[in-house]
Symmetry: C2
Subunit: 454 residues, 2 copies
């Protein structure tokens, strides 16, 4: 390892910062203006971010201006160090540094996910990252604990960690936003109430992303109800392409693959082409018509069609509830794995002939969904426009995706897709006030939250 | 992906099993005899392992004998499937399958570690693994939950998961044993009491490893007090080389590197040659005399020697306690990272000029420590023989290690090493009854457990 001199001049620091966050001075300035222009004036600012370097802990640097540490007041501990990333990038052929924002960062799902991101498992061993962690005032101390554990893990690819409670700060320049945090449902709260409470959070986070994130930020919404939260988020972020917003249905896809493997008596890596259609709720449609086992249609391999039609979907949906019974808590680890899978599916080319599921905007034909560009010629399935609907996708590994065209439908599949579509349209009417479509009218027929989720 | 026919004949299954666990029929038979010969007759067997495939869930296989599922009664769910790993190994150039046993598998540290192991982050992307999870009767349901989450994660490298509460079953043919589970200290319990209670667990687990594990199994003891637990474990496993037993001091090493980086104002990857000497307790000695920053001795880079001598060690030791205060729970994630690091340090060559710390047997000169071989010419530091002492190690990446010879000492370092050595000798006297050295005599002067650990 080459010996790199300690950084001590402010001009050097500036260069390093520019390099490490891939910004030019002018875009930095633009970000600043956007952030100021869009920030609500009443935003609470009473929680501060502290750096674990205290004055008596750090030796007096030579030729560093006294105010230097304050300039990086959003960083945490060892991640406040400046360093010569450029030289290292050249040495190690690393890719350009990326900013990843994570909400609900003090929660259990994040506690698994953040270490996966830092390890290089998700974005690859040549991709340095910055983690920008969003918590709440209540969770701020826990957020510091998370940052300390990230420090102690010494992951070379993790070059910056910052923590905060203001999405307008934390989301700045984010190229990925993983929105995990959501309010859990309180006792006696109806789904409509949950939609409203969480909808407000996601409306605000959408506005913040729109104002300060990279204009090509990829957003994965995990907090429930995730499809409608993603819709609210994208509607409040008109400068970001609607196609960039995802609602996580990957855990459902993974569970569906596992159950088909179990039933067929094969290992799970033999199951492919698994689609989850629609909402991440009990109306979701795990598609055994198009899925394949060892390259063959599932119905040719699993002869027990009654099981496929009557039991398969229910087993997947009850999985989370069974896990809570057994394990005493919700499935944080496998949820984090599925978020990692969802990202990997967008940053690595989809294997030939296969696809993955993601809840994405169903309205690419509608140019109103987009700020500046049209992406595809529309969803090829006839699904209602302007909702976030889980569908089969393929990616070239560039962070983008296209919808898969060669899928088949039968009456059974169509009937179920229609049901989950109706639910998403009803959820949309419930949150009309949050997406600029007038007064909300909430006629959700039943509670369709998945067991074991909040 | 090649289409592989479903396995349906018992002869095929047999071949697959032999291949996947790297056993010949004769070694299988030997394992069986060893297991039977060494098993205490009174072992409780009231918890059973269930497979998540129930009869009405699996379609009737063609030409599979009815008793086939019962033969794999220690596996879990989808991991009970037989499959043609051999064909896949040839296709993907995978290494030979390895068995990894983990105790305390339902706990939080394991909940992080198991997914790291399964992802390939630790043993590499070409190393298929089997996880053998040891829990307790109390935690058995949670263990099932862990296995379900591993199923749902679809890790291709994870080929088998089995769960159980009997170390004589779970440790069978283990090539790695990660002993994380230990009883926490109850209210008012003295360290001597903890040593005795956990000592009994590790004596039993040592006997079980001796009886049924691979005779070259590598053992990493995490459960506290880990040095003396490792000593008890190795003393109860005379057929396994003493050098194969490790007590985890890697989290201390990682924290020490981070604090030196913070103080010097450099990124943590600039700190190398960090030794933790002695016990994983507050007598531990983080060695700033031999450690280097950017290749230079720490004392040349950090001029504040008072901080090094008076504050540095205390900051590291208090880290766990501070984390509990902030985060509300112990540092499971970074502990799991440090276990992964400890394994990686043994299975990948140590970078030129660097080393890592591990608590290892201090008595390689004493052939009584070994069953069949002498490993090195002794510990070169003059540390008392026959204790488990953290020392600087290097590895060729073959799972083995050698002690580093070119370290320097000064009076300050020697004095502290003498203190931690005295503590380990005192702990050893406390557990004399568990290591075949007569009656225990416990004169531990004070409680030296690290804050935040149990």
């Amino acid at each position: 390892m080459a010996v790199v001199a300690e950084l001590s001049s402010s001009s050097y620091t500036k260069t390093t910062r520019l390099n490490s966050s891939q910004l030019s001075l002018s875009s930095n300035h633009l970000s600043y203006l956007r952030r100021r222009a869009f920030r609500p004036i009443t935003r609470p600012r009473n929680a501060t971010v502290s750096c674990s370097i205290t004055p008596n802990q750090v030796q007096a640097p030579i030729a560093v201006p006294a105010e230097e540490p304050k300039r990086k007041n959003d960083c945490y501990g060892v991640f406040c160090q400046t360093y010569d990333l450029k030289a290292e990038e050249e040495t190690k052929s690393w890719k350009k540094f990326i900013n990843i924002a994570v909400s609900g960062a003090a929660g259990m799902i994040s506690n698994h996910l953040l270490f996966k991101l830092a390890s290089g498992e998700v974005f690859g061993p040549d991709q340095p990252i910055a983690l920008k962690l969003l918590g709440s005032e209540r969770s701020f101390q826990a957020l510091e604990g998370v940052a300390m554990e990230l420090e102690d893990s010494l992951y070379p690819l993790l070059r910056e960690v910052s923590i905060g409670i203001d999405p307008y700060e934390v989301f700045q320049d984010a190229e990925w936003a993983l929105l995990i945090g959501a309010k859990p449902r309180g006792p006696g709260m109806e789904r409509a109430g949950l939609l409203d409470i969480n909808g407000q959070i996601f409306a605000e986070q959408g506005k913040a992303l729109n104002a300060v994130a990279s204009q090509n930020v990829k957003v994965i919404v995990v907090g429930n109800p995730c499809n409608t939260n993603a819709l609210i988020c994208l509607k409040n972020a008109p400068n970001i392409p609607a196609k960039n917003f995802h609602a996580l249905t990957r855990l459902d896809e993974n569970r569906a693959k596992c159950q088909l493997a179990l039933k067929a008596g094969v290992f799970y890596d033999k199951v492919s082409n698994m689609t989850i259609w629609g909402n991440h709720s009990i109306t979701q449609v795990p598609d055994f018509l198009n899925a394949r086992i060892n390259g063959l249609p599932v119905k040719e391999v699993i002869k027990d069609h009654k099981w496929l039609e009557e039991d398969f979907t229910e087993i997947i949906q009850k999985r989370g509830g069974v896990l809570i019974q057994k394990w005493g808590r919700s499935s944080a680890a496998s949820t984090a794995v599925s978020i990692a899978d969802a990202i990997k599916s967008l940053v690595t080319p989809t294997p030939e002939g296969d696809w993955f599921s993601s809840g994405v905007s169903s309205c690419p034909l509608n140019v109103i969904c987009y700020y500046s560009q049209v992406y595809t010629n529309g969803n090829p399935y006839g699904i209602a426009e302007d909702i976030v609907f889980s569908m089969p996708c393929r990616s070239k590994g560039d962070g983008d995706y296209e919808l898969v065209k060669d899928v088949i439908f039968d009456n059974y599949l169509l009937k179920r897709i229609t049901k989950t579509e109706a639910e998403l349209l009803a959820e949309k009417r419930c949150v009309a006030h949050l997406i600029g479509e007038g007064v909300a009218f909430c006629d959700l027929p039943e509670d369709t939250m998945l067991p074991g989720e909040m």
